[in-house]
C-alpha cells in the first residue's frame, strides 16, 4: 500500500521531450559554450578564448550590415504584409460566397517551397538574360535586376518573401475578424458608422490580441530570415544582403569558424528570446481572459 502507483503520463511525454531536448536544448547549450572557443568543427583541439569571438564581431563591418538588414527586414515585414493582409481580410469578410476561392488563390505562394519560389523569381522575373527585367529592358525601359545592385538587393529579397508570406496573415486576421460578435457590428451599422470607423472601433478592439501576437511572431521571424536571402543572393553582392542567419551559416560551413558562427547564432536568439518573452506574457494574459 505504501508504494505509489506509477504515473504513466511521465512515460507518454518522454518521447516528445527527449527528441526536443537532444536536438534543440543540448546542441543549443553546446553552441553557447562553443561561442567562447576557437573550435573549427573538426579539430579536437579546442581552446577557450573568452569573449574574443564577440569582440571580433563588434569590429566586423559585415556584422553590422547584417543587423541593419535584419532591421530593414523587420520594418518591412511589420508594415507591408500587415497592411495588405488586413485589407484583404477586411474585404474578404464581406464576401461570403467567394471568400474561400480568394483565400485559396492567395495561399498558393505560401504553400510552395521557398526554394521553388526563389528560383521562380530569380529566373523568370529578375534574370537579366531571360527574365521580365531583360524583356522590359529590351523594350527600352531603363531597369536592371534589383538583385544586382547593392542598394536594392535586400529590398528585392524581402519583397519576394513578402509576396510569399502576406496571405498567411490574411487567413489569420480573417479568422479573428469573424469572431467579432455580430450584434456589435449591427449596432454600429445602425448608428451609421462608415467602413473605417467600423474597423477602427468595432473590429480592431476585438482582434487586438491576435494582431499583437502576429506582430511578435513577425519580429521573431524577421531575425530568423534565411531562406530567401540564401537562395536569391547568397548574401551578395559584396555582402550587402547578408542577414544574421546567412552570416552565421557561412562562418560555420565556409570558413569553418564554428565558434564565431555560434556567437552570431547566440545573437540571433537574443532577439528571439526577448520577443518570445513578450509572446509568452501576451498569450498568458489572453488565456486568463
Amino acid at each position: 500500500m505504501s508504494r505509489k502507483k506509477f504515473n504513466w503520463n511521465y512515460l507518454l511525454i518522454a518521447p516528445a521531450l527527449l527528441i526536443s531536448v537532444s536536438i534543440i536544448l543540448v546542441p543549443g547549450i553546446l553552441t553557447i559554450i562553443s561561442s567562447f572557443t576557437d573550435w573549427n568543427g573538426i579539430s579536437p583541439n579546442i581552446n577557450f578564448i573568452g569573449f574574443e569571438n564577440f569582440k571580433e564581431l563588434f569590429h566586423d563591418k559585415i556584422f553590422f550590415i547584417s543587423i541593419r538588414n535584419n532591421v530593414i527586414w523587420t520594418v518591412m515585414f511589420v508594415t507591408i504584409p500587415v497592411c495588405i493582409g488586413m485589407l484583404a481580410a477586411m474585404l474578404l469578410l464581406s464576401r461570403k460566397k467567394t471568400r474561400s476561392i480568394y483565400q485559396v488563390a492567395f495561399l498558393i505562394p505560401y504553400v510552395l517551397a521557398p526554394a521553388v519560389n526563389a528560383m521562380l523569381w530569380l529566373n523568370i522575373i529578375f534574370s537579366p538574360v531571360v527574365g521580365l527585367v531583360a524583356y522590359f529592358k529590351g523594350l527600352g525601359f531603363d531597369i536592371s535586376s534589383p538583385l544586382a545592385s547593392m542598394k536594392s538587393a535586400i529590398y528585392a529579397c524581402a519583397g519576394v518573401d513578402i509576396w510569399h508570406y502576406w496571405s498567411y496573415l490574411t487567413v489569420i486576421y480573417l479568422a479573428a475578424l469573424r469572431q467579432t460578435p455580430t450584434d456589435q457590428v449591427e449596432a454600429a451599422r445602425i448608428d451609421g458608422c462608415n467602413a473605417w470607423q467600423l474597423f477602427r472601433y468595432i473590429y480592431m478592439p476585438n482582434i487586438k490580441a491576435t494582431v499583437s501576437l502576429m506582430f511578435v511572431m513577425i519580429v521573431i521571424g524577421s531575425f530568423l530570415a534565411f531562406d530567401y536571402v540564401k537562395l536569391l543572393t547568397g548574401g551578395g553582392p559584396a555582402h550587402s544582403t547578408e542577414v544574421l542567419g546567412t552570416y552565421a551559416y557561412s562562418y560555420a560551413f565556409s570558413s569553418m569558424q564554428v565558434g564565431k558562427a555560434a556567437a552570431v547564432g547566440l545573437f540571433m536568439s537574443f532577439f528571439g528570446l526577448i520577443a518570445s518573452g513578450i509572446y509568452a506574457r501576451l498569450s498568458r494574459k489572453e488565456e486568463m481572459q
Binding site: 507518454l12 511525454i13 527528441i19 526536443s20 536544448l25 510552395l112 560555420a252
Partner: protein
C-alpha cells in the same frame, strides 16, 4: 433613393472585387509565367517571356524529369516527410494528451520550454548538431534528418494537439475511468475518435512544411542520391542555368503536386494555421 443606394452597392462591390483580383493577379502571375514558359523553347523564352507558345513542347517535361532526377527525388521527399509526420504524430499526440490537463508535475514548465523552443533560431543548434551527425556518419541519412525536422516542428504540433485534447469533454474521460479503463484505453477508445481531425490537421501542416524545408535538408542531406525533389531542382539550377525551358518545366513538376495536395487538404491546412494563432 433606393436606386442610388443600389448603385452605390454595385459600385462598392465592383471595387472590392477589383482589389481582390489585383491581389490574386500578384500572387499567381509569376507562377502562371512559369507554366506558360515551361511549354516553350529556350530561344522563345529569351525572345519574349510573356508570349504564349505556338507549339507546345511537352518534351521539356521528359527532359526535366530525367535531368532533375525527380524519380529519386520524389521518393526521398516522401521518405523525409513521411518519417517526420510519423514521429510528430506519435510524440505530439502523447505529449498533447499529457499536457492537456494537470496530469503531471511541472507541466507548466514543459509548456514554457516548448514555447521557447518554438522561437529558437535553427542556427542556435545547427552547428554542433551537424558535427555530431558527421561524426556518426548520419549526413545524408533521411530518417536521421527527419528527426531534426520533427524536433523543430514538435512544439507547434504539441500545442495544436493539446488544444484538440482540451476540447474533449472532461466527463467523457471520467466516465470511461469509472468504467475501469486504463490510460491506454482512454487514449485509444475515448480520445482518438475526438482528436482524429487534429491528427489530420497536424499531419497536413507538418507534411507540407517538411516537404518545403530548405535550411536543414540542404545542410544534412548531402550527396546527390539523398537529394529531395527540391534539392535536386536547386542543383539543376546551378548546372542547367542556361536552359530555361527545362528549368521552367521542372519548376512546374515541383509546383503541381503541392498545389493539388493543397487544394485537396486546404480545409485542414487553414484550420491548423488558424488554431495555432487565433484562440476561440
Amino acid at each position: 433613393m433606393a436606386v442610388t443606394s443600389k448603385k452605390k452597392r454595385v459600385a462598392s462591390n465592383f471595387i472590392i472585387h477589383a482589389v481582390l483580383l489585383i491581389l490574386v493577379f500578384i500572387c499567381l502571375f509569376p507562377i502562371a509565367l512559369v507554366v506558360i514558359n515551361s511549354f516553350k523553347e529556350n530561344a522563345d523564352i529569351v525572345r519574349n517571356p510573356l508570349a504564349l507558345s505556338q507549339v507546345i513542347h511537352l518534351e521539356n517535361y521528359i527532359q526535366a524529369w530525367e535531368t532533375g532526377k525527380f524519380a529519386k527525388g520524389f521518393i526521398n521527399s516522401v521518405k523525409l516527410s513521411g518519417c517526420t509526420i510519423l514521429i510528430i504524430l506519435v510524440c505530439s499526440t502523447l505529449a498533447g494528451y499529457v499536457l492537456s490537463g494537470k496530469r503531471i508535475k511541472g507541466s507548466g514548465g514543459i509548456l514554457m520550454y516548448f514555447m521557447m523552443a518554438m522561437t529558437v533560431p535553427i542556427q542556435l543548434f545547427l552547428f554542433p548538431l551537424y558535427y555530431v551527425y558527421a561524426r556518426f556518419n548520419l549526413i545524408g541519412n533521411i530518417p536521421a534528418t527527419s528527426m531534426i525536422l520533427a524536433a523543430v516542428y514538435m512544439p507547434l504540433s504539441v500545442f495544436l494537439m493539446r488544444t484538440f485534447f482540451l476540447n474533449v469533454p472532461r466527463d467523457l474521460e471520467e466516465a470511461a475511468r469509472i468504467d475501469g479503463a486504463n490510460t491506454a484505453q482512454v487514449i485509444w477508445h475515448v480520445m482518438r475518435p475526438v482528436v482524429s481531425p487534429g491528427l489530420i490537421t497536424v499531419g497536413v501542416l507538418v507534411g507540407l512544411q517538411s516537404w518545403n524545408e530548405y535550411l536543414i535538408s540542404s545542410t544534412f542531406l548531402q550527396g546527390e542520391k539523398n537529394f529531395t525533389a527540391t534539392l535536386g531542382f536547386l542543383a539543376m539550377n546551378g548546372s542547367y542555368g542556361s536552359n530555361m525551358s527545362i528549368l521552367m518545366a521542372s519548376a512546374v513538376i515541383l509546383i503541381a503536386p503541392i498545389v493539388i495536395f493543397f487544394l485537396c487538404a486546404q480545409k485542414y491546412f487553414v484550420d491548423g494555421m488558424v488554431s495555432g494563432a487565433v484562440k476561440g
